[in-house]
């Protein structure tokens, strides 16, 4: 498990950095926001990403992907985080591909992976039911009827939910509302009868939907993996999502930090650059340390997932906890150090702070992952 990048990963990284800087700078997020874009991302750019092969990084070759793995995809996520690019990368290339790869049967893979790899099918994970990440707290129920399933319940904070062609729904097929056992994953068409979706816009200008399932009928082929054993798959899928999101957050934090350091050099008050003030220097130096340790943690988590290492889950929680804290810190300091101009919507630095909070709340806060890290390490 290396903590340095292979030549291939480095190439992906360079390509991705150029791609997002050129085609999807922060102004693109602003445009999507200010034009009330119906999708919340650019389908044209998404297809270009697919052409670059990124949608297939977690898809095996026999299904049209490259199986290049998490470390490679993390480079793309990090580059996307640099420019706060909104795209279906997380929901589709990471979560959708992982779920199908890890639990899909041959028919499901054949049905869905080509469209996924081609950048045509958008996936969304319908998991959360409360305001805090709680992967086993599932009340949405699926009961068997006429050889198929009937799904009822309500999901919140479904990223890309309003544009999803396929919903991956975690539903309870047995057990009590917080049991780990008894959860089953389903693949449901986004436009199935009985699915009612309300789009909402989060503080980071990205999408999340509330989706109500009102006696939605699904065939037996909708079950992804084994009935009642969805929690294991979910955990594995979530760990990939968390590691990828941590990489994205690292990119956002790096960019926010570099912009802030540059501002400290450029902005003059009292006749000198404000970066010459020692108190700001020390705060900047501390952020540098946090960024470097976060980078190591993110690399280690993604490499461990690729290596299917025993401590992968702990490393993922380590990475997400660090990414949460570091982006939180850097986002806040970015605004404070930019002063008044940092408070304006016209300046881009505030976008990083807003993105920070939503990303933190996605798939587990720092406190969630500290608790999980402790549990996985026997305390």
């Amino acid at each position: 498990m290396a903590l340095t990048l292979s030549a291939d990963a480095r190439m992906v990284r360079d390509t991705a950095m150029d791609f997002f800087r050129e085609k999807s700078p922060v102004t693109e997020l602003r445009r999507l926001r200010d034009t009330n874009d119906a999708d919340g991302f650019s389908r044209r750019l998404w297809r270009e990403m697919a052409e670059l092969g990124w949608t297939g990084f977690l898809v095996p070759e026999e299904h049209g992907g490259s199986g290049f793995g998490m470390v490679g995809l993390a480079q793309v996520m990090e580059a996307a985080g640099r420019t706060l690019a909104a795209s279906p990368l997380l929901g589709t290339a990471l979560i959708g591909a992982s779920a199908l790869d890890l639990a899909g049967n041959a028919e499901q893979k054949d049905a869905h992976l080509p469209g996924l790899v081609a950048g045509e099918t958008v996936f969304a994970l319908a998991l959360e039911e409360g305001p805090h990440h709680a992967p086993h707290r599932i009340a949405t129920a699926a009961r068997q009827e006429d050889g198929g399933w009937v799904l009822s319940g309500e999901k919140r904070f479904v990223l890309d939910g309003h544009v999803a062609d396929v919903l991956i729904v975690a539903a309870r097929t047995s057990g009590a509302a917080t049991d780990r056992a008894g959860v089953t994953l389903f693949l449901a068409p986004g436009d199935a009868p009985g699915v009612a979706c309300t789009r909402s816009i989060m503080a980071d200008s990205r999408n999340a939907a509330r989706i109500r399932f009102d006696a939605v009928r699904l065939g037996p082929e909708a079950v992804l993996g084994r009935v009642d054993a969805g929690a294991d798959v979910l955990e594995a899928v979530l760990d990939r999502a968390r590691a990828g999101l941590a990489a994205e957050m690292l990119g956002s934090a790096e960019e926010c930090f570099e912009r802030t350091v540059q501002y400290l050099k450029d902005r003059r008050q009292f006749g000198v650059p404000i970066g010459s003030f020692q108190a700001l220097k020390h705060r900047a130096a501390r952020m540098f340390c946090e960024l470097e340790t976060t980078r190591s943690a993110v690399l280690a988590a993604n490499a461990a997932l690729d290596a299917r290492a025993n401590d992968a889950a702990a490393l993922v929680s380590l990475a997400k906890a660090k990414a949460n804290e570091t982006l939180h810190l850097v986002g806040n300091e970015g605004v404070q150090m930019h002063g008044g101009i940092g408070m304006t919507d016209e300046h881009e630095i505030g976008f990083f702070m807003k993105r920070a909070r939503v990303a933190e709340a996605t798939f587990g806060t720092a406190a969630f992952h500290r608790d999980r890290y402790a549990a996985l390490n026997g305390y």
Binding site: P131, H133, M202, A279, Q336, D345, T365, A367
Partner: protein, 394 residues
């Protein structure tokens, strides 16, 4: 004391007779009366109440009666405030003229300026705004570059102010301008009153990360301002500016306790992160909430202590230097806690599924980030404490 009791009785009787019932209800922010050339009244009672109070000079209770003020003593003014609070009377008028410019004119203005401006402030006829900061002069306010060049009877003003609250609604602006660029930066600044209707003045609202705001950028392009509008002596404006800033800092320091908040970190935590046995369910979150509330309570006690010291005639001394810093940092923490405890429900921007109160909190959270920047950054406040209170060397 008997006089004061009599004053209290009379005041209460007058308020009961003159304050319309609708003006004795809690005032939402949207119903604040700001006055001005084109005043906005949602309700005729607002105007009635303002006119009645202004006629007695009670919009500016302690200002001399010859300038339209109430001419009350401090104890009388305190009684008026108490009685208004007791009856739930709304403040009839809010204005930077009352809180900021008025005291300055009383201290530094000449008789003509007082006669001209104070009565209109009392009656809410002119709405003022403040022109201090510039894009290149934030923490280093004295580095301001807006120029005012005396040409005969007029100053010719050119420059660019920022963070001019409500400039787009204001009739006049009191501004700091550079009248001598050749001397030490603090020594070339003057305090100038400018009619916003003058040709060449333009105000543009600023959108913040929290959304629409009351802040503007204000541009001056060859604006002619009568020389008589200079307050105090030319090039002595910095003294006036500092006096005003002190006042501003005090009012921002109290930002956390303006109104009893309905949503508190503990209420949000119980509601959105879970309650067990009447307590916040998550002990780690509970600990963080208690940590904040303890710091906040200790801070409020410190404000009270300073107040008591002032009342006892003791110099509160170094104490007040910390209020701006500590109060604004606490307010930021409060919102971070609330947003964190609310999870994804606390991060909504638009969408019918979000609780409007939560949406408001999200905006307030973002808005709170400015608390430690506006009115002197936290860094500047810490510098001031280190220098003036602790005596640490430059």
């Amino acid at each position: 004391m008997a006089d004061l009791d009599r004053f209290r009785a009379e005041t209460r009787a007058w308020l009961e007779a003159n304050c319309p019932a609708s003006m004795r209800t809690p005032m939402p922010d949207e119903e604040i009366v700001w006055g001005g050339r084109k005043p906005v009244f949602q309700h005729p009672d607002q105007k009635l109440w303002l006119d009645r109070m202004a006629a007695k000079g009670w919009t500016a209770p302690t200002w001399p009666a010859r300038y339209g003020g109430g001419g009350l003593t401090e104890p009388e003014a305190a009684v008026l405030e108490e009685e208004m609070r007791a009856l739930g009377c709304r403040p009839p008028l809010r204005s930077f003229g009352l809180t900021m410019l008025g005291p300055v004119l009383l201290e530094y203005g000449n008789e003509e300026q007082r006669q001209e401006h104070l009565p209109k402030i009392v009656r809410g006829e002119i709405r003022w705004c403040q022109g201090y900061s510039e894009p290149g002069a934030g923490s280093d306010l004295a580095g301001l570059q807006t120029r005012a060049v005396l040409q005969g009877e007029h100053y010719l003003v050119n420059g660019h102010k920022i963070w001019t609250s409500y400039a787009h609604y204001a009739d006049w602006i009191f501004a700091l301008v550079r009248t001598d660029p050749t001397v030490r930066k603090h020594d070339g600044i003057s305090f100038l009153l400018i009619d916003m209707a003058s040709p060449g003045v333009r105000a543009r609202p600023i959108r913040l990360i929290s959304g629409a705001s009351v802040f503007c950028e204000t541009f001056f392009e060859n604006v002619q301002v009568p020389a008589a509008n200079l307050v105090g002596e030319p090039n002595k404006g910095w003294t006036i500016a500092k006096r005003l800033l002190e006042h501003e800092r005090k009012s921002i320091g109290g930002i956390g306790d303006r109104a009893k908040p309905t949503r508190t970190p503990e209420s949000v935590a119980k509601e959105l992160a879970g309650e067990a046995d009447g307590r916040i369910a998550d002990p780690v979150l509970r600990d963080a909430v208690a940590r904040f509330n303890i710091d906040n309570a200790a801070f409020q006690l410190t404000r009270r202590r300073a107040q008591e010291m002032a009342e006892a005639g003791e110099p509160p001394g170094p104490l007040s230097a910390m209020f701006k810093y500590y109060g604004t940092e606490l307010n930021k923490r409060r919102y971070e806690l609330m947003v964190g405890a609310a999870g994804t429900e606390g991060l909504g921007w638009e969408g019918e599924d979000f609780d409007p109160a939560a949406l408001k909190t999200t905006r307030e959270w973002l808005r709170s980030k400015a608390n430690s920047i506006e009115g002197g950054t936290s860094e500047v406040q810490l510098n001031i404490i280190a220098k003036r209170v602790l005596g640490l060397p430059d």
